[in-house]
Symmetry: C2
Subunit: 143 residues, 2 copies
């Protein structure tokens, strides 16, 4: 079920990305930068768990084509703080809208209770507390 669901979920975005000559890797970068404006390159690397070289290939394109902005960090000037340009936000919105529409349909049919279960199970599948923490609303176990 995850195979089919994930394929169709990414599929609706892939169609749009093709118009821009981008791929799924570009989408991931745009998505996370949009969600965490001002994040550093290392932050993004940790989320995506890919190598610097892989990331730089897509990030370089996104910067060159004016979708992503890099600004030198103020506290630490080695850092390059990432954010979306207006053009980047527009693309992000277009992609999110398509995926949101798909998910919204599924949510509508399944009901609020099912949605809660869906989220719970997905959180349980994640192996790292750090990843889970990105989504947990109220999260008690600090440790």
């Amino acid at each position: 079920m995850l195979f089919f669901g994930y394929r169709d979920f990414t599929g609706v975005a892939d169609e749009i990305l093709a118009d821009y000559g981008f791929g799924r890797a570009h989408h991931r970068a745009i998505y996370f930068i949009g969600r965490h404006p001002g994040m550093t390159v290392s932050d993004l690397l940790m989320i995506l768990r890919i190598t610097k070289q892989s990331l730089n290939r897509v990030l370089g394109q996104l910067i060159e084509e004016g979708y992503v902005l890099q600004q030198q960090g103020v506290r630490d000037r080695r850092q390059r703080l990432l954010s979306l340009t207006a053009k980047g936000r527009a693309l992000e919105e277009r992609l999110s809208a398509a995926q949101r529409a798909l998910i919204a349909g599924a949510y509508r049919e399944a009901g609020a209770e099912a949605v809660e279960g869906f989220r719970k199970v997905l959180l349980g599948i994640m192996k790292s507390d750090e990843d889970r923490a990105r989504f947990e609303r109220a999260m008690p176990p600090r440790r």
Copy 2:
């Protein structure tokens, strides 16, 4: 959430596959052949939605290394009916066990009700009735 969940779900299998020099594409073939013994190459192509050439690359390896068996169809001798050998079933079981353990943990924490919601939402995300039909237990709308 789908990104993180899917990554970790495939991750536990990927680790095992690396021992055999196989990748995710091999796993998909093994999984679906294991689930539908005697299926044809076209059946598999339709499920995976990849090209014949892509499939043959992995299928060829699986056959050559003795994980998958091909038998000429009886009704239609052009067909090559696919099934797992004992070796193939062993690998399939090892992969499934790892993924089952991950999912079982998530199910245990989330509860039966959450599981039902998880399934419902994933079914709703699938864009094709054909894919949904592979999972629906009682399915009224025939059309």
